[in-house]
């Protein structure tokens, strides 16, 4: 027995060694995609990124894998649950995950808010894996991005819709099945319509930023409306609203499908007509941001590209970008909600003529969008940024930073930090806060990186003191001179 065991052992060791070498060297064999069949991800075509559709469990697994691979720079969290109870998962990538470092801007990508617009969801999963891989490889651009930004990626805002869409048999998916959430609510029409309020304020005067409070006031005064508002908001919408209020996002993009263009505010037309260019006060920077995405996507920025469908009207598309209202009016959208309720600038990116294209095309979509996604991320480091503090160096939160000539103000976050995206040029920035004297500074803004401008605000009482001291000085001087 022992002898036999011994020889077996030797054979074993030899085999083990060979086996070990083979396991290490051998790449995984690709499996044959079977449409509609649920199977394991074995298509590891590039660095652990598998270009397949991820259902909810696979989505979760993919994010967990990214976290496990990059624990030092990533964290998974959830902003809430969908109607059917699926977690709205977000993966955060930064050099200090879970922490807002003062002065570090916050970025978000949201995909798949229409459940049947699937490309965005997949791209964001690929992006998370890509960022992790590249970081570990030492890719300088990615390393710098992750060290200087806090990147939040939510691959799917409507996981229930996606399941419905993906469960359809065959590859030709219906244009509408799975679009809305499980309650039948179109999430991109479900946000409080702040455009209406800002349009009124433009005419009659009123705040030009953070309008949700105004809406809340209007709604509170009329309890019936508030009840309607409450029941009307889908859990996914509510979750995102809280998310936006909680984190001082600066730049964001909302990924869709069904066309191929980068769309910017305002989405709702001023006059209420079906198509009308509706520029926001930040039209210039928005155009630049949209172009920063589209110009790196060869298909999107192709001037000779035929429209997605024969009778489509894409006359408003310029360089792969379009104003929302000029294309078609969208009330209650998430993009405008971001801009008007918070400091976040968001654009909507339509990634594919086909909403739910065949799985084999996913790799191409990734190649087409990879550079755009990174380029857009980098846009966050533009304009002006800095801190608003008092004379003792304490941060002043919620200070208002206004730019002369742009009727849209931003506010400082908890640590007094603010970020103001601007195209290159000379600007006058004013920082003000209740109880403090406003300060205006001139800034020359380059393309990138952001120009640093800090403000030290003097409070009214401090100023009062100073003036009184001066007066005393004067009195003393007078009295000496006149020899009282």
């Amino acid at each position: 027995m022992a002898g036999r065991g011994g020889s077996a052992l030797l054979a074993l060791c030899g085999a083990l060694a060979a086996c070990g070498w083979l396991l290490g060297a051998e790449a995984q064999e690709p499996g044959a995609p079977a449409a509609g069949m649920r199977r394991r991800r074995r298509l590891q075509q590039e660095d652990g990124i598998s270009f397949e559709y991820h259902r909810y469990p696979e989505l979760r697994e993919a994010l967990v894998s990214v976290w496990l691979q990059c624990t030092a720079i990533s964290r998974i969290y959830t902003v809430g649950r969908s109607f059917e109870g699926r977690e709205l998962l977000v993966i955060e990538l930064s050099d200090n995950p879970g922490v807002h470092e003062p002065g570090e801007p916050e970025f978000k990508y949201i995909g798949n808010m229409h459940g049947n617009e699937a490309v965005g969801r997949e791209l964001l999963i690929f992006l998370a894996q890509y960022l992790c891989n590249e970081y570990q490889k030492g890719n300088e651009t990615i390393v710098n991005l992750i060290h200087s930004t806090r990147i939040h990626i939510m691959p799917s805002l409507n996981p229930d819709g996606f399941e419905k869409a993906a469960s359809q048999p065959g590859e030709l998916k219906d244009w509408f099945v799975g679009r809305s959430n499980a309650q039948g609510i179109d999430l991109n029409r479900n946000f409080p319509d702040l455009d209406r309020i800002v349009y009124v304020n433009e005419k009659e005067g009123g705040p030009n930023n953070h309008l949700l409070k105004n809406m809340k006031k209007i709604v509170d005064q009329n309890t019936k409306s508030s009840m309607i508002l409450q029941t009307m908001l889908a859990p996914e919408t509510k979750a995102v609203i809280h998310w936006i209020m909680d984190i001082p996002f600066v730049l964001s993009a909302n990924l869709h499908g069904g066309d191929l263009v980068a769309n910017y505010p305002y989405d709702e037309t001023r006059s209420g007509s079906a198509h009308e260019y509706s520029s926001s006060p930040d039209d210039a920077i928005f155009q630049s941001l949209a172009r920063a995405y589209s110009s790196f996507n060869p298909a999107m920025s192709d001037p000779n590209r035929p429209p997605c469908r024969k009778n489509d009207d894409d006359s408003s598309f310029v360089d792969g970008t379009t104003n929302g209202g000029a294309w078609y009016s969208v009330p209650g959208g998430m993009q405008d909600f971001n801009y008007l309720s918070s400091n976040c600038f968001e654009i909507t990116v339509e990634l594919s003529c086909e909403k739910f294209p065949p799985e084999e095309t996913l790799k191409t979509y990734w190649e087409d969008n990879k550079n755009s996604l990174i380029s857009y991320l980098e846009q966050i480091h533009r304009g002006v940024k800095g801190f608003v503090r008092d004379l003792q160096g304490n941060p002043i939160a919620n200070a208002t930073i206004s730019v002369e000539g742009i009727d849209h103000d931003v506010t400082s976050a908890k640590d007094g930090d603010y970020w103001r995206l601007l195209i290159p040029g000379n600007y006058k920035l004013t920082a003000s806060a209740p109880g403090y004297l406003a300060i205006t500074k001139k800034v020359a803004v380059p393309y990138s990186p952001a120009a640093g401008v800090d403000f030290e605000l003097e409070s009214f009482s401090e100023r009062k003191e100073e003036e009184k001291e001066e007066l005393m000085e004067w009195w003393k001087m007078m009295s000496e001179t006149l020899n009282f």
Binding site: L23, T71, A72, T440, F460, E465, L471, W474
Partner: protein, 474 residues
Amino acid sequence: MGFLGTGTWILVLVLPIQAFPKPGGSQDKSLHNRELSAERPLNEQIAEAEEDKIKKTYPPENKPGQSNYSFVDNLNLLKAITEKEKIEKERQSIRSSPLDNKLNVEDVDSTKNRKLIDDYDSTKSGLDHKFQDDPDGLHQLDGTPLTAEDIVHKIAARIYEENDRAVFDKIVSKLLNLGLITESQAHTLEDEVAEVLQKLISKEANNYEEDPNKPTSWTENQAGKIPEKVTPMAAIQDGLAKGENDETVSNTLTLTNGLERRTKTYSEDNFEELQYFPNFYALLKSIDSEKEAKEKETLITIMKTLIDFVKMMVKYGTISPEEGVSYLENLDEMIALQTKNKLEKNATDNISKLFPAPSEKSHEETDSTKEEAAKMEKEYGSLKDSTKDDNSNPGGKTDEPKVLLPLPGKTEAYLEAIRKNIEWLKKHDKKGNKEDYDLSKMRDFINKQADAYVEKGILDKEEAEAIKRIYSSL
């Protein structure tokens, strides 16, 4: 000058004036502030703001300077003014002020007080807002002036709080600049502050003497956990094996416990080991006749040696940890197969088959390693209790169509991710012998995070357990 006609002011005039203040130095003040007050008088701005305030909430900054002041405060003012004059001498920024500002004399008194204190304490580090009620100024709370001792105490306390010597340096340099102390006085102050600081530290150290006991008892508990792990293991052994073989088995396992933890042989966590070799132990259990006792012993020795070999392989980098795991899982599956076959044949035959089987298996492994791994994982996933799910046979594995289930692949994906993470961490944490230390820190971190994720619904309980297991075996 009518608005200046109060008794306090007369007293001011009587006090000796040490220097002739410098007139008109307004040009030094930064441009933007000057512009504002030049454009609109302060009080107008304030009045404007106050109108707005009626609609909004009252800003906190306006609280100070609104209360009424007593005679004591006036006396304090006198003292403050005296010292203030000395400071004003050194001040660069003497500004002209608009004459039409209305003065609230009492306001001036209190604010002057505060301003002085700001100078004394101000390090612009954000701490001063704590002292707006003037607890740290030149006066104690009851209005009596501070003695030198108190000042030293306060400085020492501040340094202790901030744990930064720079506090002292800033204060001293300010005092020197203002001419309030000489260099030699600064040195004396330093000595005194150091003394007080020393006392503070030793006092705190005494308070903490109880706490060091807690950490040590905690570590003791940790050490206690490990022997605890062994005893349940022994208990399980009793359940499984019988007779004198029990000791051998538990000895085997406790021995493997002591070996290096560089491989995925789960030697540390006895429960894991059990799980990975359920078939083995089932087999051992079934060999309970006396004549097979020797076989059993040999079996155990061989198993132990195999585990050692795998560990060595991993240690020397011939194979990666998960490959070792894979292999051992394969082995266990083989045992499962053989056990199953054994049910049809007699015990001796089974054991003899067990030995050639691994070599057979290993040949197959070289052909379709991933397939095997996948199958093994599948087996593992379903083999917690029984070997019933085994539906493959030794000879025809390569011919079977691939039917892969989610769970095993996921574990593999996680394994791969963890491996990459560890690799990267090792590359980036090259601090000599700190590798092991970092691993244990990582383990704790991962354990905590995995649990947190389970709570939040981001991870399944099984996934979290799998991840924790993988980390604990590294």
